[in-house]
């Protein structure tokens, strides 16, 4: 019975939301707008649960001393500092939260992501090896895009430019090749992936709506 109610909620919600896109019925449009608002409100409570989970983990670390106390304390203090400052002064421009965001979150987040440059370079060193035909194609395509997006590519295109009968032709034009690779074969395979992913999303959505996929109930 408990499961049946949950499955009915999924079925009714899913069918109404699917139909409202295809049918032009004002009541369904109104329901759709309200459902979007409801989802935001419900998600707010889900966020509270997530925050509770994060803090519970930190307090657990603090209590059982799984890691040095300063680490969970840092998370707890920084979280409450931002929240309290935000609740008192708001989150608009030139507020303390904005100051923290600009001076801690933005530079640190950028630095963390920039760390990936080291790891992705090391991954590229391993991936870009001409072991067989496929990996050679990968190597050539990757190298063209890399050279095409740095000033060296422009420089090579410039020094290999020929002027024939008033028309300008560059013999080794990495930027133009990069553009072609990104706009033609890359677009082709991306579209094929989009078709595949979309079919997957639609079939999974239908499985959830009709109660075939019930993993979330456990």
């Amino acid at each position: 019975m408990k499961e049946l109610i949950a499955l009915l909620i999924v079925l009714i919600g899913g069918v109404i939301m699917t139909l409202q896109y295809f049918l032009n019925i004002p009541v369904l449009d109104l329901i759709y707008k309200n459902v979007l608002d409801w989802s935001i409100v419900i998600s707010t409570f889900a966020l509270l649960l997530a925050i509770r989970s994060l803090l519970a983990r930190q307090f657990q670390d603090l209590k059982f001393k799984k890691v040095k106390s300063i680490f969970p304390l840092t998370t707890i203090i920084s979280f409450f500092t931002v929240v309290i400052l935000g609740l008192i002064f708001g989150i608009g421009e030139k507020t303390p939260v904005d100051f923290i965001y600009q001076n801690i979150q933005v530079p640190l987040q950028a630095t963390v992501f920039s760390l990936l440059a080291f790891y992705i370079s090391s991954a590229a060193y391993r991936a870009f090896r001409a072991k067989n035909f496929s990996s050679t194609v990968l190597l050539i395509s990757g190298s063209i895009v890399i050279i095409g997006r740095i000033p060296l590519g422009d420089f090579i295109a410039k020094i290999t430019t020929l002027h024939i009968n008033g028309s300008v032709i560059s013999l080794i034009d990495f930027p133009a090749w990069t553009k072609w690779i990104l706009n033609v074969p890359n677009v082709g395979i991306k579209r094929a992936f989009i078709f595949g992913i979309t079919l997957g999303i639609i079939s999974t959505s239908l499985k959830v709506i009709f109660g075939i996929e019930r993993g979330w109930l456990k």
């Binding site: 409570f45 680490f71 094929a192």
Partner: protein, 222 residues
Amino acid sequence: MSILREKGMGIINIIVILLMLSVLSFVFKDNHFFKFTERLLVGVSAGYGFLIIFNAGFIKKIWIPLFYSTGTNNFFQVMNIILPCLLGLLFFTSFSKKYGFLAKYPLAFLLGTGAGVEIGPRIETSIMRQINSSVVDFSNLSLFEIFNYIIILIAIVTTMYYFLFIVRGNKKRENFIANIGIFFMMIGFGASFGYTIMGRLSLLIEVVDMFRERIFSIFGLL
């Protein structure tokens, strides 16, 4: 006052530089400075995320409509705010063994409506429009454009053929069409990988530039 502010900014710049250095120190080895900065970033990000969603969800959708909006007068409008709140509160029953199943109901609502909302727009944007962009009228196109569209079409068909009709591990079925698909995929993966490498390197350069700006501002050079 302005001297104090400048000195304050100088101290903050030094702190930010040290924090950025501690993140970059992870390249050598995991260490306590990195762990400290990581936890700090988690706390600040969670706090900021909480404030954003609290503002968009609680303040704008619950608090203001209930207590400050003149449009929320009738029973239906009030219930339209109260009901999702009650549904959201059911999430917290997950801590109870007896009533834990109630937490599945808001989840069911989000899952069902979310799945339903996805289907229509996905069919239109990711299937119909993509097909429209792939199959075009060649009459007004140059030879080079026609060639490009044919390449795109071949890439789509062969890649999909590879994924839909080739059984993994069955070498007999890996035929010519699938190999063309693999060829196009390798071009695409190489391009995406190269593009990502350059993107990350640009970000690293940006971070170094940020670093330089903060150091220069400490010494009053900026």
